[in-house]
């Protein structure tokens, strides 16, 4: 069973379009994250949600809007896509309040904006 899944794995779209990436975790974790990995492989946190509440919101354009319908899902919606949005986006999850604090990552979504 996949612990953290993302759909789609690849997404090619044109500038100006709106797209969504879905993330689901079946680990029972309370906290979920979105990261962006750029062409130089640098990983940067974008958002973090704990039990559907936003707890981390790094400096990200407001074209990016996370949505957490329940604690097992954290979707990322991107409006008016730009060339610079091309990257790999990773979803991750972690438990909270236990001794196990590592984050479990999804397989990533490679977004290409043309």
């Amino acid at each position: 069973d996949t612990a953290v899944s993302q759909t789609p794995k690849y997404l090619v779209t044109q500038m100006g379009n709106d797209k969504s990436i879905k993330c689901e975790q079946n680990l029972g974790h309370d906290t979920m994250y979105w990261y962006k990995q750029d062409s130089k492989k640098f990983l940067k946190i974008m958002f973090s949600y704990n039990n559907k509440e936003l707890i981390i919101n790094e400096t990200v354009p407001n074209r990016f809007s996370p949505k957490s319908p329940d604690k097992a899902h954290l979707n990322l919606h991107i409006n008016s896509l730009e060339l610079g949005d091309s990257a790999v986006y990773f979803c991750a999850s972690s438990p909270r309040g236990s001794g196990v604090l590592e984050q479990y990552f999804g397989p990533g979504t490679r977004l290409t904006v043309t």
């Binding site: 640098f42 990983l43 909270r96 397989p107 990533g108 490679r110």
Partner: protein, 115 residues
């Protein structure tokens, strides 16, 4: 600000040899967590090893071990008996306390194991 530095963008090692990847971090915190993640060409991020700052003993996981020097703020990863499947990007990550489990990643080291 929390920063994580991996000063070796690329490294290579002969199969069966040992290699050490370096990581330093900057923090004023006393209790925190450190991790090494591996990202093979498949792109999946895989946890390799973790270390709690309050533990003096260095963490080990099979062929992977760390050299944690708290005073020097250094957290290097040693891979023994390198295997071809170890070829990957390796990321050091720092997690300070009370930040909602926020990770700060280094820029990564690309390791190639040569047959």
């Amino acid at each position: 600000a929390q920063t994580v530095t991996q000063s070796q963008p690329e490294m290579s090692v002969q199969e069966a040899e040992t290699v050490t990847l370096s990581c330093t971090y900057d923090t004023s915190e006393n209790n925190y967590y450190l991790f090494w993640y591996k990202q093979p060409p498949s792109r999946q991020m895989i946890l390799v090893i973790r270390q709690e700052a309050y533990k003096q003993q260095n963490a080990t996981e099979n062929r992977f071990s760390v050299n944690f020097q708290k005073a020097a703020k250094s957290f290097s990863l040693k891979i023994s008996d390198s295997q071809l499947g170890d070829t990957a990007m390796y990321f050091c990550a720092f997690m300070p306390p009370n930040t909602g489990n926020q990770f700060y990643f280094g820029t990564g080291t690309s390791l190639t194991v040569i047959p």
